[in-house]
Symmetry: C2
Subunit: 551 residues, 2 copies
């Protein structure tokens, strides 16, 4: 009766490999000819895999009573850098479980093979401690663990944050439960600069608590962009100071299902402290049903024959009031969200309503657009882009805007999402000289039975025909979890560890493709997320030494 009719039981007695690995058995299924073999990876539980790792079998102990994470003497970030101080506390708690450590009764002395300190050394004169991460941020770091101190060197705080996560992933418990770490040297930097997760707070409202938990988990996976698809057709939870009616009328509930300015600020700061950019998306002219409730005349009235039908289509592109609204609205957005980019959407515009409307038809004639409504769409988008440009923001747009030939600023990021032909699209976009990010193979809202993380893992973003210069224009990708079927009840386990596969693809070297090794590391990484309180779902039959404590 079990679902796995052909069930290959691989019970390997696992050797204790380099001390970096929890020890347990996994049952692996055959899938697509892949048979991951369950054993300890020589890279322990590191995820995503750093660019260069040198490990040794020299094991050092860490005492929760005395171990310190400190600013190195020459560091440009001192005790006043609360971003780092905050991170030290966070990683101390992850490593030592946050338990209060009793002072030993005898005078405490450093043992012969003990690691007493991690020194964090920001090497560049400007640590960027109080700044925001950006697409050009230096995220590199070097980590040297050897007795008696470990040193984490990074030009900027962003690299230091990643290095702290890596350090915490190196710590393991020996057979007596003592915290240990092996002498290790790591040089690390991301392969791609833009490594994002899209969450959709319109189809279902996500409580702030859920968003923060996922930002925390993103940091564990070295993601650095939270693409906040904040509004869409179903609801408008963004509380705008300039246009409060938008959420007052357009949210599921104007008090319990909105993000207040304070909420948004908290999300942005929580993300910044973890090296994560927050890029909001305000998608127009389609996907705007919820906007129309609080902003009369913003949407196009659809007609049934000669009469308005009572329903509405995309944003009305022929009224001056539309652009006046957009100008004020995006002025607010540009000041609320500090990131240099805003995502303007521009996808899936349905022309039927525009076609039904006599005023639109007249306008099309006046402009000489004929029957080509994509010209009208481009007309709108062009004006919107000009408005946003005056706010000094760069913009990201979904691929249709590029496909329709809209004139884009050179620093525009084109977001490729349409499955089937995404390689060709990447070729076209980069041939035209635009930077691009890939999401088409990483729509994590699509679920299926089995280990689909392997499919995400096997994607190679540069696998398209193009010159070296074109490949350089691919700045990364995003895993998208659209909200039709997820809310606070199931989002987190559905996202993790499936998104972790995307994380490694975007961070690690191109050559890191061993699916067996990935399975072994990811299995332990998922248990680490569970131990840190994140309900990351299992890869396959297995167990975690400390199972999830929630329900």
């Amino acid at each position: 009766m079990s679902t796995t009719l052909k069930f290959t039981v691989l019970l390997l007695a696992l050797g204790f490999c380099q001390g970096l690995q929890h020890n347990y058995d996994n049952y692996i299924e055959e899938e697509e000819g892949v048979e991951p073999v369950s054993q300890a990876s020589k890279y322990g539980s590191l995820w995503p895999l750093p660019q260069k790792v040198q490990t040794s079998e020299v094991s050092l102990k860490l005492s929760g009573f005395s171990f310190k994470i400190v600013d190195a003497k020459g560091s440009s970030a001192g005790p006043s850098c609360s971003l780092l101080q905050n991170a030290y506390r966070r990683y101390y708690e992850y490593v030592f479980g946050g338990a209060k450590k009793q002072k030993p009764s005898k005078t405490w002395r450093t043992g012969p093979s003990e690691l007493t300190e991690l020194q964090v050394w920001i090497t560049s004169p400007d640590s960027e401690c109080d700044g925001f991460p950006s697409v050009t941020s230096d995220e590199s770091y070097e980590l040297s663990v050897k007795q008696p101190v470990a040193v984490l060197k990074a030009p900027k705080v962003w690299g230091a944050l990643h290095g702290l996560e890596t350090f915490s992933q190196l710590v393991y418990e020996d057979e007596y439960g003592a915290k240990s770490i092996n002498s290790t040297a790591i040089i690390d930097f991301p392969r791609f600069a833009h490594r994002g997760i899209l969450l959709d707070t319109s189809r279902h409202f996500l409580p702030i608590k859920v968003i923060l938990a996922n930002l925390e988990t993103m940091a564990m996976n070295k993601f650095n962009v939270f693409h906040w698809h904040i509004v869409d057709d179903p609801s408008f939870p963004y509380l705008s100071r300039t246009f409060p009616q938008l959420s007052q009328q357009g949210s599921y509930h104007p008090y319990t299902h909105v993000y207040t300015p304070a909420d948004v600020k908290m999300v942005i700061e929580f993300a910044r402290l973890r090296g994560i950019r927050v890029i909001p998306e305000f998608d127009t002219p389609g996907h705007t049903q919820s906007w129309g409730k609080g902003q009369p005349d913003l949407l196009t009235p659809c007609y049934s024959g000669a009469e308005p039908s009572g329903s509405f289509g995309p944003v009305n592109p022929i009224l001056n009031t539309t652009y006046e609204f957009m100008e004020q609205f995006f002025k607010e957005v540009s000041s609320v969200f500090p990131d240099a980019y805003v995502h303007l959407g521009g996808d899936e515009v349905d022309f039927n309503c525009w076609k039904s409307n006599p005023d639109i038809k007249k306008f099309m004639d006046q402009q000489g657009f004929g029957q080509d409504y994509s010209k009208l769409e481009s007309f709108y988008i062009q004006k919107l882009l000009d408005i946003v440009t005056t706010t000094k923001k760069g913009y990201m747009i979904w691929q249709e805007v590029f496909d329709n030939g809209v004139k884009l600023k050179p620093d525009t990021v084109v977001h490729v999402w349409i499955g089937g032909g995404s390689n060709e699209e990447m070729g076209k976009v980069t041939a035209a000289g635009y930077t691009t990010i890939l999401s088409a193979p990483w729509y994590l809202d699509y679920i299926s039975y089995g280990q689909d993380w392997q499919r995400y893992y096997k994607v190679e973003p540069l696998n398209f025909n193009g010159t070296e210069a074109q490949k350089k224009l691919v700045i990364g990708g995003e895993a998208c979890l659209w909200g039709e079927y997820v809310d606070g009840t199931n989002l987190t386990p559905r996202l993790w560890p499936r998104a972790s596969a995307v994380a490694e693809r975007l961070w690690s070297a191109k050559e890191v493709t061993d699916i067996n090794d990935a399975f072994n590391r990811l299995s332990v990484h998922r248990c680490r997320m569970v131990e840190r309180g994140i309900p990351a779902e299992p890869l396959f039959s297995s167990y975690c030494p400390r199972e999830y404590k929630g329900v």
Copy 2:
């Protein structure tokens, strides 16, 4: 970029329908030609739908300060029936949110349209308060709500439990937040006697907390059988008093990943208090890899050529020691689990190992089985059934045991699970005179994108060729959530509300098939589960007035 390219926005202003319904909008997608229309059901949020419901628009208020659930005067179950007392508290808390109610400052008086009491009246001389539910338990009840008191009549406590759940589902909040209920008359009983959920605690260990939360949710959906697939190949978490080595060696961890006798007792009592039977499954002779670790010589040694390969196959059917072990083991099982039935498995026996073993070959020759290893399988099962029969238990078995022509007791329940041909199988099993339950269309571990609950809902268990007498042998069905891909992190949202679709199919009248009405009731029912602390996942874009508070 959203995944729903053709997105039909149905924003219906919902009328307040009979006061039974929370008020909210839902976005419905087109699927398989079905377009559920979002509006209030005339049956409010009742789930599963009772057999007969008469509602009125007369609304009565309930005061958390004074409302009482009491034993009716003539009831055969008094204050000493802790099952009912426990249920009164549970449902009081569900209805009134468990908040402490302040005594009104003025002398409190009953208002003109108030419901002050629910009287629970067990009408049969034996209430079965201290007994266990069984397949023949009377689960019927009648509920009459009218001013000033509601009366819940049931022959046995089992019906009363269902009636209390129904009562709690009738209570709603009016626009001022006041608890209200409409005058209603309900006559209710289940269509099928066996309505089960299978959980698998071998592929992943499920903490007791997770099991209890799901028993609680089963009660909210009127499920009455917890099929506990407690052990299997990957691990043996059942701590046997007679053979403690089984879990000592065969569990993922002998302390943190086992069910102690006290745990099992707690699960059984928690279930009993909710009218739920606990049927354990100890599946043999296949699916027993984990048994072999703590019980030497139980499994068949596989051979590679002339030498044992070191791996093991199914239970060894040719040794007397095997049957001596089974006798002792099932004697223990029969005393630990009070239910009249035990599930003996018997599925998916792989013959390769038996074929490789020279002793087995010799035995086959001696018995005259030729090359037909299913005869050997039947030989084993026959002996096992005889052993279990001496423990005075009935048994359930997976369909292969029937298919292989094993001689079964007349009261055997044959469990149909193989997809494709399950209708034919139901026909065959019932034609042979055996009772049967259906699981084939309800393997909830198989996931897919979209509203798959509709597929489960549309199943008609009696949709096979057979006489009326045959149809009567179908005693129910089970939704199965095999454990390869679920553990405590994701089990609950993956199970609910998808299993709720099965619950209604097995409880409500055959004619209850309106998918729109089901969508509307189930949407509210799912929010009720969320409000009760269960992370039941959403059906589609929507919101709950009170979203899930966990992460």
